[in-house]
Symmetry: D2
Subunit: 465 residues, 4 copies
């Protein structure tokens, strides 16, 4: 599973160039996308863009940042899921039209993008890429010909179904938009005289700034000297992605008022409360299981101890050269600290189980090292359904929990027990009411209409102001 994107929007009220700020902010969001990176700034007369394949530190250097003049701009990191990953698909996406130029950075996925695209094509629109972001840009541009930014955004939100946290330059105006469901996080902060909008609060932290608040679902921010807020859509229920808390976001981020670290700690605590399984040590699957393992340890009093060490140099380009050594795969990433696990009853804590293959290999490694018992504590309920809102996830067929009972999964993985956090436990750990969460991958009930899937909130009428 991978997050697909991170976005940033920055404006200096003191006329300072912001490309370096955006660069730092993107760097702190690198975990949200490692495939391409880009920055667009408005330099006083026109929008400048630089984007390319690669990590933020590879795509940019001092010279390139210097060329990106301007006191306002947006940035994007991307991990693409569909189609060939090419420089052309990297963002920000820029378009020019009668009303000027628009640059868009998008995190999320538009569910009805094909339909919207077809309608726009019927209307004569022409597209240069396959991306749903180009559809957003076209819709927005079209509306901006007749309406001001607020009304155009209202029209845009009427049309789009799905996830979209956006930072946009409309000529010289920086705006931020979060979809009415609030699928993907977006927050705003301030660093001295500089406004910062970003996918996660760590992007504000890295600049030495202060998180002010989350952008609300359905909200439009127009960021000038002051930040104007427009609650375009007000909805009784939202659907914030629960997996941001479980896995995607950095633990030091605060999302929708909740510190991710806290949530993960509570997940660990809840796992102990729900199952009460005892053991000799609580051992995380690094890095994603660490915080919940600490929580389990705190709740249970069982010592937290690392039984698995991660190789910090596992990167994008690693090859598996030797047929007979291919099962070295997991060992290259993880190594067992034998003496920590030998003869021990292990409480193994991981954030989730997707296909089950990695879990199976880890359990095997622990057993090979002499673990007496391995109890796998999973920081989420079973993942039984795919995500359509911007997470790169295997198909339903590949999701082990879509086809197997917990007992069956236990057999496959070879653990002494496999213990999923309950849905209630998860919701409580997150601390956000169920009606404000997207739990689709755990319930197979979707918060918006997705062709071929059950929509749980079909009846909900969004109110457009």
């Amino acid at each position: 599973m991978r997050e697909e994107c991170g976005v940033v929007g920055i404006l200096s009220t003191e006329g300072e160039d912001v490309s370096s700020h955006i660069y730092y902010a993107l760097f702190s969001l690198q975990h949200r996308g490692q495939e391409s990176a880009g920055i667009a700034t408005f330099d006083g007369s026109r929008i400048r863009v630089h984007k390319d394949m690669g990590l933020v530190s590879e795509v940019f250097n001092g010279d390139k940042l210097k060329l990106l003049r301007g006191d306002r701009g947006i940035g994007h990191v991307r991990y693409s899921t569909t189609g060939p990953s090419t420089p052309e698909n990297s963002q920000p996406l820029t378009i020019s039209f009668r009303g000027g130029t628009i640059a868009v950075a998008h995190n999320g996925n538009i569910v009805n993008s094909t339909k919207l695209r077809r309608a726009l094509e019927e209307d004569g629109h022409i597209f240069l890429s396959e991306s749903d972001t180009e559809v957003i840009a076209h819709l927005l541009a079209k509306e901006l010909l007749r309406k001001d930014i607020v009304d155009a955004t209202r029209e845009l939100m009427k049309r789009l179904i799905g996830a979209y946290s956006l930072t946009i330059l409309i000529n010289d105006t920086l705006v931020a938009i979060r979809d009415p469901n609030g699928f993907k996080p977006l927050c705003i902060g301030k660093v001295n005289g500089t406004h910062v909008v970003a996918s996660e609060s760590v992007a504000i932290d890295v600049l030495g700034g202060k998180l002010i608040r989350d952008v609300k679902p359905g909200e439009l921010l127009i960021i000038e000297e002051e930040v104007e807020s427009y609650q375009i859509v007000r909805s009784p229920s939202t659907s914030q992605c629960v997996f941001e808390f479980i896995y995607f976001a950095r633990p030091d981020s605060i999302i929708d008022g909740k510190l991710v670290y806290d949530v993960r700690l509570r997940i660990g605590e809840r796992l102990y409360e729900e199952y009460g399984i005892e053991g000799d040590l609580v051992c995380p699957v690094p890095d994603s299981g660490v915080t919940s393992a600490i929580g389990y340890s705190l709740a249970s009093g069982i010592p937290f101890l690392e039984g698995l060490i991660k190789n910090r140099y596992v990167g994008r380009t690693f090859i598996m050269p030797h047929q007979r050594l291919r099962d070295a795969g997991v060992r290259l990433k993880l190594n067992v600290v034998r003496r920590n696990v030998e003869g021990k009853r292990i409480i193994l804590v991981d954030d989730s189980i997707v296909r089950g293959t990695t879990s199976r290999r880890i359990v095997q490694m622990l057993r090979d090292a002499g673990a007496k018992e391995v109890h796998l504590m999973v920081g989420s309920p079973p993942i039984i359904a795919p995500c359509y809102f911007g997470i790169d996830m295997p198909t339903r067929e590949e999701l082990i929990a879509a086809h197997k009972s917990v007992e069956g999964i236990k057999t496959v993985i070879g653990a002494d027990s496999v213990n999923y956090l309950s849905l209630e436990g998860l919701i409580e750990a997150v601390g956000i009411p169920e009606r404000r969460l997207c739990l689709a991958c755990l319930t197979s009930r979707y918060p918006v209409e997705v062709p071929g899937e059950i929509c749980v909130r079909r009846q909900v009428r969004l109110t457009h102001f």
Copy 2:
């Protein structure tokens, strides 16, 4: 501080090509050197080499490994400290001479290299590089003209002063040598029919093999179908690098019989025993302080909790573009989890203090986030003297503890207290007798003669068998 090198030597008794094994092993030793990587194999008739600047995963690919035919070979990863880092300085170093061809992979530093080199030059020897490894190769080659491998190694050991864990191909013969002081680690293991010698046992683990034992200080191994051992030098005292345990080695490695993880845990426990400082949480400086922090937590009962999160994408090429943002430096690598530290008394655990600048910034970040108290627990005694045995360390002038009292350091760093582990505590935590450890950087008393430094064991006569 950086480790300078890692070495590997592998021989398959079943005639299998070993380049992939070496590649995996080097990958697991990547933390010992990220600047260049290389592999040399004996293909049945000659030695083949590929080496270049870059990470293991960048230097090699499937095609290159396939060309490195042969059932025996050596490998090297390197971080260079002196002079320009160039492809020519990468290892294995190969030389040809009357007796054939030699390929050498070296971890360590020869203290009397300049003197030896001058003597060899007097003798007519000609060098192509500045490296002490070329000196080793020349000495060895010279002796091999008149002696067999065992006697030649004996002569070599008589001449070399300093640190050298070596894996060497002498034509078709794979040998491993560890200096009589045993400065740098070296161990041997087996994976089915394959012998593996490596700087750390993780290189054996990654291949799914079993650690057999450490190569002994002063020992020569000739690795064939069977491994022949020759204790070339027997010495009443050795000087194994204590910082391998404190910082350099991977926690999952077993060095000289001691699991590094255990040592680091005990360091944390000892720190609590020695100072008994209480607080609201034990917070590690990631990643190197994590294990000792767990130890402190276990000993004290104070909860282990992460107050600092590390950005996993901090790499080699990052630039600091904006003058005013340059102090973002530490924030790019580390971010505070504010709610974990706000209003709290923090037990902050780090492995060591070198210059003190990073510690000062981290303490400041914690204070800015509202920490009530910050007590810095340091997993080693003060570093007061430079290393001459293969560690890249600042000069004596730059070492904060070489010039300041603990009280002075506390003032500079701004912590409520700075608490260094005692030398006795460290020795006890490591579990190896003091006379077998190199503690020079902590005591300024060197185990071998180094010009301008005090030598504590000058009188010790190595016995050459």
Copy 3:
């Protein structure tokens, strides 16, 4: 002066993959653009594209060509003149719209592109780039919604003013279009069962094929099993670029029925006929002056001899490091064969004079080498006006002949005489009637309306069939 682009379109009637053919063809057109290269093929169900910055041999390799499946496709090489040269601006440009997908390769420049673009924007069109090619694609797509290819092309031609030799994939249909003025060359040939359309006939030669004929100005070709021709616009006068003959095209190309080599020979002959200047040798400025120099030699009987040798390794990345050596500039590219010129009266033949700086330096080099007289014979009349039709040329201010008399130019250049070919001589050498040539850069009278310039054929009404 640089040509901006070359285009190719290939269809195999035997179902063979054509990406390799396109690759070879582009390679033979590399002189028309060295900045980026691209290929698009229709693979039976969709259009595939690969394009990037670099030479044809750098952008493509065997793997990439293999991925470009399909029995029909187009290719493009590009030298960009305006704006930053980026991967996104490389061609073929692909768009998708209600009618499917279009890929366009364009050689030329649309004079009224800004106006058309504005009109399209008024109409709601949205653009992703600044290029006139995107305007062409939009116009074409728009018309294709209501009309078939022939009628859509007719509408397109009604709107576009300027130069456009196009190869286009409209879904699975390969078409070729040449503007009614015929500014840029375009020809069609056949290689066994494969149709080839290309900017120059050398692209057909390289495939071992046969040139059939030029695409006529105003003609549309729909290339299927058979090639259908539609004379969309019939015009009494055309304006084929005369500089293709003088300088841009390869000498072995046949353009509009004329072998470029022949034209250049005749230019040399005419220069002798017009001026009758005698000397000891005829010396070309390599490479562009060679053929005309041979012509001069043949006509005059004066021996052809190389007095200047060109360094074949002058490339894109050369740097001029040393202030004092910077005047080595011309010497790096050209060296005098002293003994061939010493004490001699040199007939120096070049294709044209743009700024005059290179000519001045060459004359100086010849004089320094002891040339007694240097008579510069120029294969074109004075260039006095800029090109708006796809050639990268200095501004009017920089053109030496726009401001100086021939006498003045002679003084600047330092030659004993400077002898421009007469306009009549040039026209006769080309062998195409004046009313069919674009001579704008030589006469400052433009064949189509260009804002701020004199249009000589304003009255001409194009007839659209």
Copy 4:
């Protein structure tokens, strides 16, 4: 056939940095080696080197040249023939020894290198590469321990058999050495206060300097404020490579007093004198046949006309993707100007025939284009034996003339006649007495002892002064 290397040595008597001069000089010698490039300078205290794989313009940039401080230095371009081409084999080669540091740039090949190397190895010498240049460096260093530069060079020359034009830095002393046979060219010139030694005089020209004279076979130059000359070996006969005149050297170079351009012109004239073949045009195989074709035209009165055009972008990386198109090979490089050759009797002039395959394809192309007759005039006698002195040439088996009569070659190539220049004709054209030329590849009689070959001058005793 490819030349293997070019060398440069430059010293500024005015204390100016010379790295830029060397860079320019190497650039003008790029035709002598395109695989790697390097520069070494003496900066006042030590020798600095930068070298890497690639063209001169790729290996160096402004920053790198700036780092290469010093008023004296050497440079090298290389095309390697044996073994893998690696950065380590690039030159200048530097060694350090008791006497200091030596940097060597070598053009040529040492015939007895293996024997010398073995002797040195017997003597305890150790080598890091396979190159004969390292052998030269060792021998020189060894002698310098006991002797001054002049006497050491004398000893060196006594030992080396083969070709060696050398530029060397011995600590701060720049020297140039040409072997007693004078196989490879070497000349000296002056640019203001700067001494320049180089493989060809074009390297002096590019700097705006004046060729003074050739370095004599057997001469040592010590280049300081003044240039000291030592005729170390005086030999009644030398053996300058005749193929430098026929093919390798740039036409604008003056080698051993002969302008290469003149020689090639005379070769063309001689070919007409020897065979008197008439035709409709004289057509060169570009680029190497051009000058001789002009000579043939001047002698015969038959017009010089290009029937073949070369693609200027044929480079190192070109791939041949399509099986069926592979015979496009020659067409990619050369294209026929059909109208120039159709129905014509072609006098086709090439410099030499090696394997015959390219000639065969060119003749076929001309015939396909309708040539009535093709008479191939070859600017050298048949190549019947390999070169051991620094030219990359096919084995004897692959040389068509080693196995076939002229009649047989004619049949293979398919020309109406194949006409080789006579040996006498060649010698006369070059203008150097036979006893001063190496004609081994044309006669199979070698000027020095080569194992397995006939040595024609075995009896000649070199006189060492």
